[in-house]
């Protein structure tokens, strides 16, 4: 199994204080597949995303990327490993530094890994085109754009390191139908060309059926606990 190409949460348990949120949950996202994840509010979907995105250390169990176990979280994970997983969250406002222009927002992960400025500019322009941010929007800061436009910038930021795995936690819930279809189309194109593994979390059953290759119920994964 060590050579398998997948992002794996293996028997992961997480609690906040005495409250157990995830209890021995296993979830596998293969390269090139789109996995839909559903479950009632508060069942731990977002916590599972935080664990998979290497943002939260599980109490038990571990995360592995293509068979390589990851024993650290956040910046303690080597750059080459942590940039292979990216996440897109529900609220772009909460996920964006309000002091940065959209173009700097997208460039931030590249600058954090000391990418040469010329390469940064080229990659950012390419991604801004891909997600459909028009030239007049790029120099604006988050307060001067709509949620839909800001989420497009966040999507560009998530793709900036060409991740092999993309985790979308209710990423289109607050978007209008057209922007939702656009964001989904960009992610689906990226998934095909990069053969990326994608996790989609949404309460919208119609969207889940349309978008994902297979659907996992988190309540069922976690056993009897609702």
């Amino acid at each position: 199994m060590t050579s398998a190409q997948h992002l794996l949460a293996d028997e992961v348990s997480v609690g906040y204080g005495r409250q157990v949120v995830l209890d021995g949950v296993t979830l596998r996202i293969g390269r090139g597949e789109t996995v839909g994840l559903r479950g009632p509010s508060g069942c731990g979907k977002s916590t599972l995303v935080r664990v998979l995105a290497l943002l939260h250390r599980p109490d038990q169990g571990r995360v592995s990327i293509d068979g390589t176990a990851v024993d650290a979280v956040r910046y303690a994970v080597p750059v080459a490993l942590r940039t292979r997983v990216a996440a897109l969250f529900q609220s772009p406002r909460a996920a964006a530094d309000s002091r940065l222009s959209l173009i700097d927002l997208i460039a931030e992960p590249l600058r954090a890994t000391r990418t040469p400025e010329s390469a940064v500019r080229e990659r950012v322009a390419e991604l801004a085109d891909l997600v459909g941010l028009t030239a007049d929007l790029r120099s604006r800061r988050p307060h001067a754009v709509s949620d839909g436009q800001l989420q497009r910038a966040c999507l560009a930021r998530a793709l900036v390191h060409r991740p092999d795995y993309l985790l979308c936690d209710e990423a289109t819930a607050m978007l209008d139908a057209s922007t939702q279809a656009h964001v989904a189309a960009v992610i689906r194109d990226y998934q095909r060309t990069q053969r990326a593994g994608v996790l989609v979390i949404t309460h919208d059953q119609t969207l889940l059926d349309r978008w994902s290759d297979r659907i996992v119920d988190l309540a069922a994964t976690a056993g009897a606990r609702a």
Partner: protein
């Protein structure tokens, strides 16, 4: 939907009905910025009857939230509002919400006659008061028993025990239900709900929508401002599609969803995941630089030279209105 409307069922146009609760006529809102003017609402006219649930849908930034705030006089100081929005109230003189002034709005209109469920509950709640105190305060101000608080909480799907929490102790969904309870407490005859279901999961979305629907059965009217087309389809009597500050199509819900007449409405429906799942091509225009003609023309597959002139809102044979030079023929016309 209510008994009062049955007599007018044969009248083809919605604008000629027995009892409009709210009649908006030529409403315009413009914001002055340092170096630009933002036209957020242009020449907007519509009527809402008692017992009607009107959904206003459109892409983000089309001006639908500004419409809600204009009706309540809650716009910032750099906004200029023109036109009329007359609110009729049984047993009281009609009030023009645009011209009557802040004093009148604060004393007689807001809360009691027009309620608002605001878009972001996090910024609408007083952070140093518990939900129960906020609710008791509202109930007392409107002459109701504070003991009604528990029942109001249950109505919106909130556990009465959670009323004793402070706003920062509530999840986004719980805060959303609390602001809904606060808006419902004075029992307003017109409720404006600005994205009341964001942050709620599906069962709670359905619960909230059913709650709004029930208000209409009791004779109140609801204006539901939403980006969620599925929600609009589920509860609305009529749907107004807004694009670049204007209403481009306003029709019965079923007619709109089965045979949209405006090319934009059609393209927006095609973006739904159970339809083509295809985004509307191109980008919406900037509200600072709206074209003189049809604002959708640059993205429209049906455009011709005529579209350089602004299309007027015209009645459709099957009822409703559309503002387009080349509407898609609907089943009703052929």
């Amino acid at each position: 939907m209510t008994t009062t409307e049955s007599v007018s069922a044969s009248v083809p146009s919605r604008t000629v009905v027995t009892r409009p609760l709210l009649a908006v006529d030529g409403l315009g809102v413009e914001f002055r910025l340092r170096d630009a003017r933002v036209r957020a609402v242009s020449e907007l006219s519509l009527t809402v009857r008692a017992g009607e649930l009107l959904a206003v849908v459109g892409e983000s930034g089309c001006g639908k939230s500004v419409l809600a705030h204009a009706l309540l006089g809650l716009l910032p100081g750099n906004a200029t509002t023109t036109g009329h929005a007359v609110l009729h109230h049984p047993g009281a003189d009609p009030v023009d919400l645009v011209t009557c002034g802040q004093r009148q709005l604060a004393r007689r209109v807001r809360g009691r006659r027009v309620g608002l469920v605001p878009q972001s509950p996090a910024t609408a709640l007083n952070p140093v008061r518990t939900g129960r105190r906020l609710l008791a305060e509202t109930l007392r101000a409107h002459g109701r028993d504070r003991a009604d608080a528990d029942q109001l909480a249950v109505d919106v799907g909130l556990d009465p025990a959670d009323l004793d929490r402070y706003p920062h102790e509530l999840s986004g969904g719980m805060a959303q239900r609390l602001v809904t309870a606060l808006a419902l407490a004075p029992d307003p005859s017109l409720l404006i709900a600005d994205e009341p279901t964001t942050g709620l999961d599906r069962p709670l979305v359905d619960h909230t929508l059913d709650l709004l629907r029930r208000r209409c059965e009791n004779g109140a009217a609801v204006v539901l401002i939403t980006h969620d087309l599925a929600a609009a389809r589920r509860v609305a009597d009529t749907v107004a599609v807004m694009y670049a500050s204007r209403i481009v199509e306003h029709r019965d819900t079923d007619q709109l969803f089965t045979a949209p007449a405006h090319p934009y409405a059609s393209a927006l429906l095609d973006a739904l995941p159970d339809r083509a799942f295809r985004p509307v091509p191109g980008d919406p225009p900037m509200l600072t630089a709206l074209p003189p003609g049809c604002a959708f023309a640059p993205r429209c597959p049906r455009r011709t030279d005529t579209c350089a002139d602004r299309p007027l809102s015209t009645p459709l044979t099957g009822g409703g209105t559309v503002a387009c030079h080349h509407p898609i023929p609907t089943g009703a016309t052929t």
